[in-house]
């Protein structure tokens, strides 16, 4: 009981410290408003505004129709270029796709001679290349078929395939972007805030002051975890309500309470990582480098940029250790799929387990790190 009272009062002190730091507050507000907005609105679709050029050696009605069929938002209005320009244009990245329509294309189509259309794709942007290629192929096939049959009716196939997207029927990329942005921000801010809070106390000598009082390492660490976690949790909630749901209009399918509960759990884990880094770093420069080494994998390998299942077998066990990976799975399930607690419980337990592991490790290292830092 006494321990929890100490944790409570120390945490209040922690809250006061952060809230009295104007620059920190400004950066936190920025991170949960503008940063979220910019990040989620930026990546609206994978193939968006892709630059296309057309080499039209046919100059027929059909070739013009094809060119006209490539339109925004997927593609920019295609530019006509000459065959000799292709290599330079692709080298300089002026166009991501170049469609070459050969001479006599329309005539050959009419004769049923199956003329070739070449699609040059800049494959250095892997995802866009493959998706864009599919779109362009579909568009050309549709236009040619349409030209031949002179009707809007699609060709009849023996079996029809109807594809539907569950959870985000219109495929609005912003939804996913917004959740991913939130995850990035809360991970980064929580780790920096708690780690820095510890380092700052050490630099100012206040940590020694705490350690000669009847307080245990556990109490000191725990107070930092809850206070900084709370700041981020409140920011997260506000951001969810105002930025994500209200301004960006992203629907949350599942229970908000569950989302916030899981987030709180994740914040404990992230704060524990922050403390952990704060205890092993001897100087601010070292902390900064450690921070990068942790935050980059969190941002890139938690399933927000690319799906976990496509990560190579070697890397998967490494990313399994990131609580953020499980939190990402949890958040996606609750926000998009409307999952309830029984479904996401395993993920929550994993977050809790990993968080506890980091927490215990940092407490074990804590006192040692104080005595080393003379």
């Amino acid at each position: 009981m006494r321990a929890w009272i100490n944790i409570y009062w120390l945490g209040l002190k922690e809250l006061r410290s952060v809230l009295s730091d104007f620059v920190m507050l400004l950066l936190i507000i920025y991170s949960f408003s503008l940063a979220i907005y910019a990040q989620s609105t930026a990546t609206s679709e994978s193939v968006n505004n892709a630059s296309v050029a057309i080499v039209d050696e046919d100059h027929s009605a059909l070739s013009r129709t094809i060119a006209n069929a490539l339109y925004p938002p997927y593609f920019k209005v295609p530019i006509l270029i000459s065959p000799s320009e292709i290599d330079d244009a692709m080298d300089s990245d002026t166009y991501m796709f170049v469609v070459s329509i050969p001479p006599n294309f329309e005539r050959d189509v009419r004769k049923g001679e199956r003329p070739s259309v070449q699609i040059n794709i800049d494959a250095t942007a892997v995802t866009q290349a493959s998706l864009g290629n599919t779109y362009i192929q579909n568009i050309i096939t549709d236009e040619v078929n349409h030209y031949i049959t002179r009707s809007d009716e699609d060709t009849e196939y023996p079996v029809e395939l109807v594809q539907r997207r569950a959870f985000n029927p219109n495929g609005t990329g912003m939804w996913f972007g917004a959740i991913n942005a939130l995850l990035n921000q809360i991970s980064m801010l929580t780790i920096i805030l708690t780690g820095a809070a510890l380092l700052r106390e050490r630099e100012h000598g206040t940590i020694e002051h705490l350690l000669v009082m009847p307080l245990t390492s556990f109490q000191i660490v725990m107070s930092k975890v809850w206070a900084n976690g709370l700041i981020i949790l409140v920011s997260f909630m506000l951001s969810t309500f105002f930025v994500v749901e209200w301004i960006l209009d992203v629907p949350i399918a599942g229970s908000r309470l569950l989302l916030f509960g899981g987030t709180a759990l994740y914040l404990l884990a992230a704060a524990a990582i922050g403390i952990f880094l704060g205890t092993i770093a001897r100087t601010m420069a070292q902390f900064a480098l450690l921070l990068l080494m942790v935050i980059i994998p969190i941002m890139m390998l938690s399933g927000g940029l690319t799906p976990i299942e496509s990560q190579p077998e070697v890397i998967q066990p490494v990313t399994w250790l990131l609580p953020s990976r499980h939190y990402m799975a949890f958040a996606q399930a609750v926000v998009f799929r409307g999952a309830n607690i029984t479904i996401v419980l395993p993920e929550m337990l994993k977050i809790l387990g990993l968080g506890s592991a980091f927490f215990i490790a940092s407490i074990l290292l804590f006192r040692r790190s104080i005595s080393v830092s003379k």
Binding site: S20, Q118, R164, F176, M293
Partner: protein, 935 residues
């Protein structure tokens, strides 16, 4: 003022005001300071002495009033540039302007370089100065490992390296043991005897030192109380000593208790000692900080601990409080062995550490309240204690002031109040009065005596002040980790047959040093004495002897113009510092190599291993035939069949499957009849990019099924196609993610690592205070910025080479294009990255804020908006704008082009041009923010 008009003036101040936020530090100061004298600035802490010295030195920016120093207006930057090299400024705080990781020689060499001295001249001066100060045997010791007195000597040497006409010393002897203090003043006197024209302005808290000065200025609350010769001050106030003179000059209400402090004799109530130390020793690596220390402290006793900085006092106290483990030996508090996890003992002890260690962002009341709560005082008790302490420590008027804006003396009172809030039986106080003015010290001691005699609290206190030591029941002298002696002060004086405790102390120190090989405090007078006999190498003689004899010292300094030498001096120093912290370098190189592997292997844009399950309502050979096409696909992994609609929903929700194939009842029958049955594919749309890819795969499998279906019926589906589409995947025909991520990941790392390292390094200078060297030396802004930047550009380029080699040889991504182009781009890119780090640090004041800001401002644009996954050209809105204005976008583009597109240096030029703009822009903007003076 009582100055005669004929005397030459060093400085003339008129109506000078200076404020920090709401605090008025200087209040309408008008004063003439004579030249060629030893001028002392006296006064309590926080009265504006340091501010005044900062203004005179030119390090601080003048806010209001007129200030003439060395016959010129300090407002004019032209005069400051001219006068700057003639002024030397040693800021307050032991070794504050020194570089702790650099050796004595390296520190001196750095300062000499800033003043443009040639290597021969530098070597000569360093030899002279170190010889004169007794530092010559410690040339290679890092400044951070010197004792307090030696640090100040080194600081002095650094200040004297360029023969200044004006030497400004801000409390140079605070925290220095008596022997070193004596040596320090001897040194100054020696220098002055050789350079009569040099003026010295000193601020000090020691009144006995001030007795020896030529001219004094007494200050209080931002105002000048009086100025004149020491004797004049004593005459006007009718006092015999300066301490009393100063007190007499103060307004009545500030004089404190003028009654002499009388300490009642100690009544020992119990024979059981409160503290016992038996042979305690503490080692840090190979360094023995405390060596076999033993003593006993009686209950209720005031036990004093004397010794210079770094002699082991603090370490001993930390061991007793359990903050540091004891390497060997044993210690007992209240008869119990010291145990860090023993909460009961901690409840009985109050501790006050050397530096103010309360929360500066909390108010006086909040600090008291927090500690009362942490010691679990009841609500009534808390209120009662706070009321009592506020009254007793006279904190009422500052009750709701934040601790950060309190003067040091009041802060110390608050610290003591906090330390005793739980009515401990023992107080351990580490230099509680360091930097506190005499009046405040006196108040403080009255409190201590009261606690000891009235409340029977055992007090273990360390101090530098001899008059405080005299008030202790017993004292112990410590030197170089050992306790020399401990006894009652008067016995110590008697044993050494000295007249004062100070003399006795010096006697004990000399005795201790004499017996040791290290002449740590070697009497400098010996070295100094030899100097006058050799005029050519005399300490302060201008060095015409240097080089060919015709070049005078001053002419080598090229002021106002960009000096490559000075810039390189900063670079060289930075490199030395970085090399001394190998952990940081290792982190930087190994860390980025590791991240390269994890990220470029870990990010796989080939969507594979997708889990799917079939919901087959038909269960006919036809439906199974359809589904079999999915089983054969390398993209999909089959999961057990779906049993019901609910099952489908639940399994999609739990992410067990990302694709559900629903075949309606009667599929087979309808197909055979020639009608068109439809199959539904439910795709998890949460991740939109993945969903798009899956749609493509599903269509592909569907087409394969149709093709086979037609083939079975004897048709070739290709015959029905009207057009033959030929996609050509350029640059990455095998379509592997690594060819994209391999070149892009280094681009991310080469921005983040140099930027954050740069920002921290710059913020550190501000936080520690070494940035003062930039203010007070002729260094220009660009010399300073570029000088600091160069080493980090070099680190960035080394990192570039290692990362490129890793990409080519480990990730097996061939570098097909121009190596020169890539390298050139990398150079400008790293320049831009470090430039951004500088920019961030120029708007932040602490290292914490610098890391926070750099991380927040660089990570998102680099990972999200620079084309790492999503090309910048396909972004929208703010993201697109940020991406276009961010260097990583261009370098990622260039890196991909150089690696996989095989472009020549000319084809890469567009990106290189853009990259070349960022760095200079960042540095110029930083320079605009960076002021050559403190606010």
């Amino acid at each position: 003022m009582a100055m005669s008009d004929s005397a030459p003036l060093l400085a003339s101040l008129q109506g000078i005001n200076h404020t920090y936020g709401d605090v008025q530090a200087l209040n309408d100061i008008t004063l003439d300071i004579p030249a060629g004298m030893m001028v002392g600035l006296l006064g309590p802490d926080g009265v504006g002495k340091s501010t005044l010295l900062g203004l005179i030195s030119g390090a601080r920016k003048l806010q209001d009033g007129q200030l003439q120093v060395l016959n010129g207006d300090m407002r004019s930057s032209a005069h400051r540039k001219k006068a700057g090299p003639k002024i030397a400024y040693l800021p307050q705080g032991l070794g504050k302007n020194l570089y702790a990781d650099l050796s004595v020689e390296e520190n001196l060499d750095f300062f000499a370089k800033l003043f443009g001295q040639k290597s021969q001249e530098r070597a000569l001066r360093i030899t002279q100065l170190t010889k004169a100060t007794g530092l010559e045997s410690f040339l290679h010791r890092p400044a951070g490992k010197l004792s307090g007195g030696m640090k100040q000597k080194l600081g002095l040497c650094c200040s004297l390296i360029h023969d200044p006409d004006l030497l400004i010393l801000d409390e140079p002897t605070t925290g220095v043991d008596p022997l070193s203090r004596r040596q320090f003043w001897q040194l100054i006197a020696q220098i002055r005897s050789q350079r009569h024209q040099m003026s010295v302005v000193v601020s000090t808290a020691y009144m006995d030192e001030a007795e020896g000065f030529d001219w004094l200025v007494a200050m209080d609350a931002g105002k000048v109380l009086a100025s004149g010769k020491p004797q004049e001050l004593k005459n006007t106030t009718g006092t015999d000593d300066l301490e009393s003179a100063f007190v007499a000059l103060l307004p009545l209400e500030k004089r404190g208790n003028t009654e002499k402090l009388v300490i009642p004799p100690l009544e020992v109530t119990t024979e059981k000692p409160a503290i016992i130390a038996r042979g305690i020793t503490r080692k840090f690596d190979d360094f023995v900080a405390v060596d076999d220390v033993s003593f006993e402290i009686k209950a209720g006793e005031i036990f004093g601990f004397l010794g210079s900085n770094g002699c082991g006092k603090t370490t001993t106290m930390k061991m007793l409080t359990g903050l540091l483990p004891i390497s060997s030996g044993e210690a007992f508090l209240f008869g119990k062995e010291v145990d860090a996890s023993d909460m009961k003992t901690r409840m009985r002890v109050g501790f006050m550490s050397q530096a103010f260690s309360l929360y500066t962002e909390l108010t006086v009341h909040e600090n008291l309240l927090l500690h009362a709560r942490l010691f679990h005082l009841s609500t009534e008790k808390t209120a009662q204690r706070i009321r009592a302490l506020v009254k007793r420590f006279d904190l009422q008027s500052q009750l709701h002031t934040k601790a950060q804006s309190l003067p040091l003396g009041i802060r110390q009172r608050l610290s003591l109040a906090v330390a005793v809030i739980h009515e401990p039986e023992m107080l351990i106080l580490d230099e509680p009065t360091s930097g506190v003015d005499p009046v405040a010290r006196d108040v403080f001691w009255r409190l201590l005596v009261e606690l000891s005699r009235r409340d029977k609290v055992t007090i273990f206190i360390s101090t530098h002040f001899m008059n405080e030591a005299l008030r202790c029941d017993r004292i112990s002298l410590m030197h170089a980790g050992k306790v020399l002696v401990y006894d009652e002060p008067k016995h110590l004086v008697a044993a050494k047959q000295a007249s004062t405790l100070e003399e006795a102390f010096i006697g004990y120190l000399e005795e201790a040093i004499g017996g040791k090989e290290a002449p740590e405090n070697e009497e400098p007078s010996a070295a100094l004495a030899s100097i006058p006999s050799e005029p050519s190498t005399s300490l302060m003689e201008p060095l015409e002897v240097a080089s060919n004899g015709s070049v005078s010292t001053k002419s080598t300094t090229t002021d106002n113009v960009f000096s490559l030498k000075r810039m390189l001096a900063f670079s060289y120093r930075e490199i030395m510092e970085v090399m001394r912290d190998p952990v940081r370098l290792t982190f930087a190189f190994i860390g980025s190599a590791l991240l390269l592997l994890v990220v470029s292997y870990g990010i796989s844009l080939d969507v594979e291993d997708l889990t799917y399950a079939a919901y087959d309502n038909d269960r006919t050979p036809q439906s199974r035939e359809y589904l079999s096409h999915f089983e054969g696909s390398r993209y999909f992994i089959k999961k057990p069949s779906i049993q019901s609609e609910d099952d489908l929903e639940r399994r999609m929700q739990s992410n067990e499957i990302t694709l559900a194939l629903e075949i309606p009842a009667g599929f087979g029958r309808t197909l055979i009849r020639g009608e068109t049955p439809s199959v539904s594919a439910w795709i998890d749309g949460a991740n939109t990019t993945r969903a798009g890819t899956i749609e493509g795969y599903v269509s592909g499998v569907h087409v394969a099924y149709l093709t086979q279906l037609f083939a079975e019926q004897g048709y070739d589906i290709d015959d029905y196609a009207n057009v033959d589409l030929q996609p050509r995947y350029r640059y990455n025909p095998t379509f592997e993610t690594i060819f994209s991520m391999g070149p892009k990941t280094p681009a991310m790392l080469l921005l983040l690592f140099p930027a954050i390292l740069m920002a921290v390094s710059m913020a550190r200078e501000k936080e520690i205070g070494t940035i003062t060297n930039f203010f007070v030396t002729p260094t220009t802004r660009f010399e300073f910025l570029l000088g600091k930047q160069l080493p980090y550009i070099a680190i960035g380029m080394i990192n570039f080479v290692t990362l490129t080699l890793l990409v080519v040889y480990l990730l097996k991504v061939p570098l097909t294009g121009s190596v020169t182009g890539l390298m050139l781009g990398a150079f400008f890119y790293v320049f831009a990255a470090t430039g951004f780090g500088l920019l961030v640090s120029s708007i932040t004041n602490t290292q914490v804020a610098a890391v926070f800001a750099t991380a927040i401002l660089t990570l998102m644009p680099t990972v999200m908006f620079s084309g790492m996954i999503q090309p910048t050209s396909t972004l929208e809105g703010g993201g697109y704008i940020i991406g276009t204005l961010w260097p990583a976008t261009y370098y990622m583009h260039l890196s991909v082009a150089a690696f996989t597109k095989g472009l020549s240096v000319w084809q890469l030029m567009n990106d290189i041009y853009v990259l070349a703009i960022f760095g200079p822009v960042f540095v110029v903007v930083t320079a605009l923010f960076l002021k050559k003076q403190e606010a």
